[in-house]
Amino acid sequence: MGVVAEIERKLARKRCREEADGVPELRTSTMTHLVWAPPEWVGAAKRVLAGLAERHPSRTIILVPLPGSRTGVEARATIRDFELPGGREVLSEVIELRLCGEAASHPASVVLPLLISDLPAFCRWRGRPAWDSPALAEIVEVCDRLVVDSSEWSGVPAAYADLAHLFPRTAVSDIAWRRTLPWRASLAARWPGIRSVERLTVEGPRADASLLVGWLRSRLRHEVALTRRSADIVSAVRVDGDPVDPPVGKAPSGSDLLSAELDTLTRDPVYEAAARAAVA
């Protein structure tokens, strides 16, 4: 029996077991959610998935590449159920695939038969992708949206030039970009005074700062210089030395940020332009 058939069989058996508890089950999916998580990222990925809870009923496929081991695919399939008001349960499926040896370079061969037909496929790619790798090329081909977090990368902002090569091939979102949204709203509220800004000063991660200045450059269509002081999160922004009001409210969790990206289906031309301009 092939690995895909074995997964389907395991899932069917677990669904039957869930249905035997007498609570009416509902199999509802809004997407296939792929997670590319090298071993060092698996823990973080699972924490975010746990925080995501039942917000996006889906088939989740966690892909763990283990290129240094003997070629093969190890699979685990589980069912998670979430109670709904009215005494029903929604079932979500979680499939963990350990792609060993050469299989790590050919994820599509396992992913394609497991995608839920007619629904969008999102891939959250943990860490910095190897831009020329066959694995990235295959995942880009099978997913409708690639979700990265450029704050997980070294080599920013130059790496945005590599990322930009993917824009024509799939929709791309960036958790770092999503994180800057409240600051972008605060900056946008300064229109029209901000029109002639010359320098943006950001205390925050390199990725967030680069994207903010790239955004201003691309939207305002002129050069804006960046001064950055390192910080774990964006804690202060100044426009030509003038402090910008910080956003109010609690910063969203990693799960909240990913959840928001999973609601977005189309390309984001504003982000694409910001990422390209961040390199300049």
Binding site: T28, P57, R88, R219, V270
Partner: protein
């Protein structure tokens, strides 16, 4: 030049600064629906940055005490967890004025409170008046606010149902309101239109190409619309005994659901485009003859394991009341799409369970080769739209029972709102209050819609004057009077199985 930085931020349009004036602020609607809705809007940052609420009611109490009540109401009825900071930011802008609605000095104090809001909260003279008052108080309140309408800023008025008691009174009320307010400033609320599933009916019909070719008399055998309540009149005898099921539910919710089900695709989702199409449906409706309408009144019975009194035994109800608590009708929409397709509708209190559904029953397959062996199991396809509870859509289809032979059974394919979208569904009043602040009347009923609805109801009620049915004629906890079943059985059909 437009702000290029705003693109892609996904910012919702915020309403203009304004003051919401709630007449009837000490009532149940304010406590259960309006204030929890305002809290939910504040919780999501959807209220205007400069906003105030002026509560107006007869109950003598200081603002502080009013807010204590509203705090408790938010804790009990809001869909979000209670956050002091959110409530306090809302409460800062709240003032309460105790007055009789026809008391000039009281209205002066309302005016002063509003001026104070403009001064201290920056509400810029914009006023949204919410009439959460009994229908008999409408004229007085509308006159008071109309006469005091200020030149600065906009003024809108939200009117709760029922809008009038019949066609003549609705017209009279409209004429009176229009002395001070233009039609685009009048928001007649039918809270069903604010429900997500009712709006999803439009998404279902007009965002899915597969339904258009089958949504017509060629493919649809008939439509059933049910608005069933298991509760009684909940202490509203004064209102209900005058209104009955036909004015309380049929005239508004039921006919609106029917109009949305039957209407042609609007050219866009603007207020007038949608409402124009609904009016065409209402105008195309036949007045049902006496044999096509059944009314009923509940007697004693059992609901959810509890014995409940008959309608005539409810506190405040005339022991010989002839008010109907149930109405069912066979209606026809006489147009190209729906000619000869019956719409069976029913609404009632103290029915077996609470349920609002629209069931589109399709014609049977022309030559089902399995019919002989399908037995009782094979039923026509039904597309069922659950408005409440269990919001969602299900499709009944025939499927082969696994095993030897060819046995066909009906199974349901379900889309459950809460299953696919885990966001909690907003309350209807949140959406409607926000839309009124934004000036968007798409989900409110227009004067001509209301008039068409009353024309139909007046004709039915007029015919009722000629007979005197034996009430009560259905036990509480049942699915209504037996004549209601006969209404459908006569056509060789039956109400949906529950």
């Amino acid at each position: 030049m437009a702000n290029p930085l705003a693109e892609g931020l996904g910012l919702r349009r915020k309403p203009d600064p304004c003051a919401l004036v709630v007449f009837g602020a000490s009532g149940d609607l304010t406590k259960r629906k309006l204030f929890p809705a305002l809290y939910a809007l504040a919780y999501r940052g959807l209220l205007p940055d400069r906003f105030a609420v002026v509560g107006v009611a007869r109950t003598e109490q200081p603002t502080r005490q009013f807010l204590t009540g509203m705090r408790a109401a938010v804790k009990q009825y809001a869909r979000d967890p209670f956050r002091s900071d959110v409530f306090e930011s809302l409460a800062e802008g709240v003032r309460y004025v105790a007055t009789e609605f026809d008391d000039d000095s009281g209205e002066d104090r309302v005016g002063e409170a509003l001026e104070d809001c403009d001064r201290t909260r920056g509400t810029a003279g914009n006023r949204l008046h919410y009439l959460a008052v009994p229908p008999q108080a409408f004229p007085t309140v509308v006159r008071e606010i109309g006469e005091r309408r200020e030149r600065e800023g906009w003024a809108r008025v939200i009117v709760e149902k029922p809008f009038g008691h019949d066609l003549a009174s609705a017209r009279e009320l409209s004429a009176m309101v229009q002395r001070w307010f233009r039609e685009d400033e009048v928001f007649r609320i039918d809270h069903y239109l604010g429900k997500e599933t009712v709006q999803n009916l439009m998404a279902l019909r007009f965002a899915n190409g597969i339904f258009e070719p089958i949504w017509n008399r060629q493919m649809v055998d008939h439509v059933q619309i049910t608005v069933a309540e298991s509760m009684g009149i909940e202490g509203r005898a004064g209102y209900y005994d005058r209104a009955g099921a036909i004015r309380d539910i049929f005239q508004n919710h039921l006919l609106q659901l029917l109009a949305l089900t039957a209407m042609e695709p609007p050219i866009d989702f603007t207020a007038d485009a949608v409402r124009n199409e609904k009016v065409k449906v209402l105008r195309a409706m036949h007045t049902p003859g006496p044999k096509s309408v059944v009314r009923g009144q509940y007697g004693r019975g059992w609901v959810e394991g509890e014995e409940v009194p008959a309608y005539r035994e409810e506190p405040g109800v005339d022991p010989s009341s002839m008010t109907e608590t149930y109405v069912a009708a066979k209606l026809y929409v006489d147009n190209w799409r729906w000619a000869d397709t019956p719409f069976y509708v029913r609404a009632g209190k103290r029915l077996a369970r609470r349920e609002t559904t629209i069931a589109i029953q399709f014609k049977r397959a022309p030559h089902p080769p399995f019919e002989a062996i399908a037995g009782e199991g094979l039923r026509p396809n039904v597309l069922l739209i659950h408005v409440q509870p269990d919001e969602g859509v299900s499709l009944a289809i025939g499927a082969k029972v696994p095993g030897a032979g060819m046995q066909i059974r009906t199974v349901h394919m379900d889309f459950l709102y809460g299953g696919a979208f885990r966001e909690s569904v907003p309350e209807a009043y949140e959406r409607l209050i926000l839309d009124a602040m934004l000036g968007d009347a798409t989900l409110f009923t227009r004067e001509d819609e209301v008039e068409e609805q009353w024309k139909l109801v007046d004709a039915v009620v007029g015919a009722w004057g000629r007979d005197r049915p034996t009430f009560p004629n259905y036990p509480a906890g049942s699915w209504g009077p037996s004549r209601s079943d006969e209404l459908v059985h006569r056509d060789g059909r039956s109400w949906r199985r529950h």
